[in-house]
């Protein structure tokens, strides 16, 4: 089986991040690597750059990683996490402009077929293009 693009889910809430990851695994299957993170170290709401980097590493694939985020800081912290990766890995990670749940399911469906990172991102972003 060819490698598939990995999916990272970043929410302010760990429950939302985990629930979204569960939906992806149950609806799409286990052939796509999915990692998630959410909440701050005290158990409250928030996002954290080092946890996002860990999630990117967990979902890492030779084909790259697509990140789905919820609000504001999830996006800026994800961008910061991408900036902190080694230059050659940095260009293989994208933050998708898509709703977190729908985008994650659609991105993973596209990834499962062995599509490239750009195709995966385009499918996730189809929802916002309309």
């Amino acid at each position: 089986m060819n490698d598939t693009v990995g999916i990272v889910i970043v929410s302010h809430s760990k429950d939302i991040a985990k629930g979204t990851a569960d939906m992806v695994r149950q609806m799409v299957g286990s052939e796509v690597k999915v990692a998630f993170c959410g909440g701050n170290p005290d158990g409250g709401l928030g996002t954290n750059v080092s946890l996002i980097i860990d999630a990117i590493n967990d979902a890492w694939s030779a084909k790259g990683v697509a990140i789905l985020v919820d609000l504001g800081g999830a996006e800026t912290n994800s961008e910061m996490a991408v900036e902190m990766l080694e230059p050659e890995r940095r260009k293989m990670v994208v933050v998708c402009n898509a709703p977190i749940v729908e985008g994650a399911v659609m991105a993973a469906t596209e990834a499962a077929g062995g599509s490239s990172l750009e195709q995966v991102r385009a499918v996730a972003e189809e929802l916002t293009a309309g």
């Binding site: 299957g29 052939e31 659609m106 469906t109 499918v123 929802l127």
Partner: protein, 101 residues
């Protein structure tokens, strides 16, 4: 069923949607994933008057919102078109079983 058009032969088929809630999220994901395993161009529609949509686009398949008992039409064009139509008909007719994939 075989049809021909200016683009060459199309394999076509029809199947009734027996899934209790119609073509919702999970069936749409399964249909799209299966369609992507084939090289053929595959289109589907849920009524004779609707536009054909790309069966490999999960967003479009989900947006079909086909209710239970709709007849899904499938047409495919390409080398493995026949196998693709047969596989998709089987998926819908068997109510989108979990394959454990």
């Amino acid at each position: 069923m075989l049809e021909t058009s200016a683009d060459g032969p199309f394999i076509t088929g029809k199947v009734r949607l027996v899934h209790a809630v119609g073509m919702h999220a999970r069936p749409a994901v399964k249909l799209t994933k299966l369609a992507k395993r084939f090289q053929a161009q595959i289109s589907i529609r849920a009524s004779e008057t609707a536009d054909w949509i790309n069966a490999k686009s999960v967003a479009k398949v989900m947006a079909l919102r086909a209710p239970r008992d709709s007849v899904i039409e499938i047409k495919a064009h390409g080398e493995d078109a026949e196998a693709a139509v047969a596989a998709l008909i089987d998926l819908v007719a068997t109510d989108f079983p979990d394959t454990g994939a």
